[in-house]
Assembly symmetry: C2
Homo-oligomer: 670 residues x 2
DNA sequence: TAATGGGTGCACT
DNA sequence: AAGTGCACCCATT
């Protein structure tokens, strides 16, 4: 089998092949290398590389948009050989630039710097770059970093956990997906929707479902936040490493981690954050839209601002706007809205931290907020208009000891959370999906500008204002600091359509709820912040960097770092074999295809499709000292299909269901 | 693809196949299942299974001694499909019986029970069964279990760590291999000895070495010890789960874990254990042989006993003795030598624990032992004969509060440690490798018999006595409790050839060193306790249990538990996908072939060769919303070679260097 | 503390 | 994106 160049492999003769190959290996007592079989089996006309069974581990990988197949062999001696089949690629594998987008004007290390309150801008746009968070408070305790980040990333639908930490470094990652997420119901749905799943007998391939316990999909999200302490600068640096996710982003107010986080907020007396998260919880539980977007605009009228529940005219959403957004996103946007800060009562000292320009340390209802449950707080004073202490709007209180003084309001820039577990949009409360503008409803005023100024070298965008119809449903803003809904406005925009602004003292919770419920989001709904380029997803990188096809010949490159842990035990460990240390060399990403993602409630729109396959083959044999069994030869003929256009359909699907509009991004800074 | 029964796979058409497959998936927006490709790709004449690129994970495995190839596909939806190619195996996959060995008379749950001091018997022989340790002290603290097990398994060359624990369970595993273990020197050696490694161009396969930092081989050893607290019996049960290893066993006295363990021994005042481990450390650092074997014998004269540095006549060592040992090993041997206990000063309470029958709480040199370093202790009184307080030989002290009262001396049964990092045996100090008998040199007298009696239903073995020439090298037993070298003798054997016995007061350290250095071990040297059957190595089991070849047809069986984590993050996690929950279903084991193992300083003799290969293929593709690239078709034709007799050479190699004699095992209990 | 299996946060090394 | 030891979990039966 496969001894002939006709490239025809007969599965029925597979065993014989393997036997031959192994016989050769066994004939040579010194044969320890994987290539020994190749040399010894050169008698015939083989159309496939042979792999000795004494290789403990091997992997074959197909690179995206290339014609290469990579075979990785890992030996107990830590030596790894890789075999790349296919033409030598011309594609630069180290490119971090986005496809179809001009190179962003970013730092030479391909990183951008964002203020924490602008994190959504970076998260939505700079998925191929390192996103530096600056400014960052001076944490005097490593344990203070996580709560600070949680304030930022919880509203983004990202629940972070510590992956690793020591005295000078904390690596955060997304919390692992809970197992049992794909219930039988989900599976059945997927099977029903996919006739191929149940195809029982296709070309001698029998399909059968094993009803086994659903195990968790693995902890494969590459998203990382790295906090490192700089001894020179005596401060912590926080960088978003892999701004992409293998899962939908969803805020889960029921998670234990969030409860702890919320409890800490109460313990710290961080009323501002408590209220924000109360709102977030309420809307999440009510399946109300929780989303906002940076709406970059090139009209030249505004600073780059953020909004909460921005509603744009539907006509403004288009696929091309997505492209525009992508192109715009790569440009560096520094410290925009860095003045939008939340003051908190505790945290690290801010000796070296810029003091907040605008904030109020609201003591009103503080005790209640600290004691009541989230929902209770949020729904206090049902049906009554919240008392809005106007005197507090401008009461700026500096809290220099607050670790979170520089926590820019994440609610202003985030809320990129798909609702309803990413099912097609379900928003009964929404009556008018168009012509609603919630611009800056929770934004704080950017009273102070950064030194470089929002109008100087930075992108300038503005919110497209829309009058917002609002009505119905009462009493959700009773205990809110409604001042926060009004006082933070973009100085360049008259986006004061909030009910609170028009009649703050008489605005009811229901008005605000309705106000916030209306959504005409641009790229918010069911959007996974994967941009169109996942080349920085390098999980397989080191594993696959071992093979090369040079001049039509296969080359095996020893690579000690190319490791695939196939046979491992449970424990807590991630798959270290798939960790990559260099983003430059690993343009591969394990992303489920849209179909599979849909099955797992993994909705994607406006993002890249990452179709991947992984074929692992292991051979094992038992040899007795006294009985030398005959050598067995086995062969595998694998066909790997690369498909690039399956994603299109799913994009359409999502768009049809969700009416998703990609980021409206006007770029006036070119 | 595979649409025809001709079973002919043309690698050149693989791409087309794959493209079809993927196209089908994309055509149906609801297609989420991997099997969709099979049904939709029936157009062509493909004889091989096609694998969609949108499959996130897949593995192909060849089973040992079978003609099957298994392909595993794991999807983000937690659905896994497996494809088994090859004739339906008649080999019972649930069999835990050893090949070429009669079924052991063991419990119906395929488990055996061993006393802790007999652990080596089980470890060497019962690798397919659960090995219950009984008796076990009544640990009143979960933290007491690990030190107790360390006493047993450190001498076996097994460094255990906790994989997982809770209030009622502690799972131990082998400590993960350190990275950077295989130096360039080692690699070069392996390459030099193996011409195939350097074969540059074989069948269009070019070999090239990447000089990268050697990274850790992964944490793949399946060996587990499970300690569970039985609520009903109010006691801890300890079971060895997977008595096999993916790595050589080596005692590393330099490990931090061991240092902690040793420190705890000193803190506990466990002089007995301290001395034992001092000896072990010394011999390890001196590259002296550290080994012992259970020598089961059917002569009917002796109980089954253990020995430290047993030396058998070279004539007694043969391959068939190995078979005999294997055959004997499967039989249940319960509570043998359970009276050989070490008293310690602390530990859990022993309310329900059998009290030690024989032990001495040696206070001599206690302070020194507790303060001195290991080597210092062991090398005190250079050149002087150790003072042997004969009055202490019979001073039996019961320490009912000692958690480790029931720790049978692991040195009696273990020391199955290859020396010199598994290089060919290096023992300059050894002058006579034959005719030396160290039977029970460290055994304690079995003054008390178990209720069932060693002569009743249990296997009876004895040490084959040999006169031991000894000479040279002084001063290594100065601070040792030499009584321990004399007082623990097999009651049925005149194995009192130790220099200490013949002239205890004048015995020099050099005599003892030479005494212990002589080795004619049976299966001790460079032996990995893999027996001839690794069917219980089920690490890939769940992963591979998804495919079946039935009546010449490929069957894909959905298996939600068959998971291969390919793209994962680092963190601490093991590879949960490779953990096996059932030994019955997984006859696969990732073992390096002897050649590869030799390259990695992984020597095996007298054990099964576990040749395994693992081929992992991943496809990734980047799809832009605006640009649908053409589909790419890639194919892999792999030949997996099963080699069964490469190990023979290495066995010979080891035997030539070490004169290894496999376990002399006379079975009189049939 | 029913028994038994596995996932994973996160600090230690 | 250190790797991993370990404990706190959860799941299934
Ligand atoms: Zn994520
Ligand atoms: Zn091990």
């Amino acid at each position: 089998m496969s001894r002939q160049n006709n490239n025809c492999i007969d599965p029925t003769t597979t065993d014989a092949m393997l036997e031959e190959t192994s016989s050769v290996s066994s004939a040579s007592s010194t044969t320890t290398s994987p290539s020994s079989s190749s040399s010894s089996t050169s008698v015939g006309n083989h159309c496939s590389p042979s792999i000795l069974k004494n290789h403990p581990d091997a992997s074959a990988t197909a690179a995206p948009n290339t014609d290469k197949i990579q075979l990785n062999l890992m030996f107990p001696s830590n030596q790894t050989y890789s075999l790349v089949m296919g033409p030598e690629t011309k594609q630069p594998r180290t490119s971090k630039q986005k496809q179809n987008a001009p190179p962003p004007a970013q730092t030479e290390d391909n990183s951008v710097t964002f203020a924490p309150d602008n994190i959504q801008i970076a998260l939505n746009q700079d998925q191929n770059t390192l996103i530096h968070l600056d400014p960052v408070p001076n944490f005097n305790d490593k344990a203070d970093i996580k709560p600070w980040l949680q304030k930022i990333f919880y509203p983004q639908g990202i629940e972070i956990v510590i992956e690793r930490s020591d005295n000078t470094k904390v690596i955060f990652k997304c919390k692992a997906a809970k197992k049992g997420r794909s219930s039988n119901k989900d599976k059945n749905q997927a099977s029903a929707s996919d006739p191929t799943v149940t195809t029982p007998n296709v070309n001698h391939v029998l399909l059968k479902k094993k009803k086994k316990r659903s195990v968790s999909r693995f902890n494969i999200c590459p998203f990382r936040i790295r906090a490192t302490y700089s001894l020179k600068r005596k401060k912590w640096n926080i960088v978003v490493i892999n701004n992409t996710h293998s899962h939908p982003l969803k805020f889960n107010p029921d998670s234990e981690e969030y409860k702890k986080f919320k409890l800490k907020l109460r313990e710290d007396g961080d009323l501002e954050a408590i209220k924000k998260f109360d709102e977030l919880e309420y809307k999440t539980r009510k399946n109300l839209p929780i989303q906002s977007s940076m709406i970059p605009c090139d009209c030249g009228l505004t600073n780059e601002i953020q909004s909460f529940n921005i509603v744009l005219p539907s006509g403004r959403t288009a696929a091309n706007s997505n492209d525009t957004a992508t192109a715009t996103s790569s440009r560096p946007i520094k410290k925009l809205l860095s003045a939008n800060l939340i003051s908190t009562s505790n945290g690290g000292n801010n000796n070296n931290v810029q003091k907040p320009r605008t904030r109020v340390n609201d003591k009103r209802n503080k005790e209640n907020l600290l004691k009541k449950t989230t929902t209770t707080n949020f729904l206090t004073n049902n049906g009554t208009a919240p008392a809005i202490p106007t005197n507090r709007v401008n009461s700026l209180v500096e809290n220099s000891n607050s670790m979170t003084d520089f926590l820019d309001d994440p609610f202003n820039s985030s809320m990129n959370i798909p609702m309803n577990d990413f099912a097609p949009f379900n928003l009964e409360a929404v009556t008018n999906l168009n012509e609603i503008d919630f611009t800056d409803i929770f934004n704080k005023p950017t009273t102070l500008q950064q030194d470089d100024g929002p109008f100087s070298t930075l992108n300038e965008m503005h919110i497209h204002d829309q009058q917002t119809p609002y009505a119905a449903d009462m009493s959700i803003f009773s205990s809110l600091d409604t001042a926060s809904l009004t006082r933070f406005q973009s100085p360049m925009h008259d986006v004061n359509d909030s009910p609170l602004l028009r009649n703050p003292s008489n605005t009811t919770n229901s008005e605000m709820l309705d106000y916030m419920s209306n959504q005409h989001t641009t790229q918010e709904n069911n959007v996974i912040p994967n941009n169109g380029n996942n080349n920085n997803n390098t999980t397989l990188a080191n594993e696959l960097d071992v093979f090369k096809m040079v001049d039509g010949e296969l080359k095996i490159i020893e690579d000690d770092n190319a490791l695939l842990k196939i046979n491992s035990t449970t424990g807590r460990h991630d798959n270290p074999e798939m960790t990559n240390t260099s983003n430059e060399h690993n343009p591969y990403m394990f992303h489920a295809s849209p179909a599979v993602q849909a099955e797992g409630q993994f909705w994607q729109n406006n993002i890249t499709n990452n179709d991947s396959i992984n074929i692992t083959s292991s051979m094992n044999q038992i040899t007795d000292n006294t009985t030398n069994t005959n050598s067995n030869i086995q062969s595998i003929n694998m066909q790997l299909i690369e498909l690039n256009n399956t994603s299109k359909k799913y994009d359409d699907h999502n768009n049809n269901n969700n009416n998703n509009i990609n980021s409206h991004n006007h770029n006036n800074s070119n």
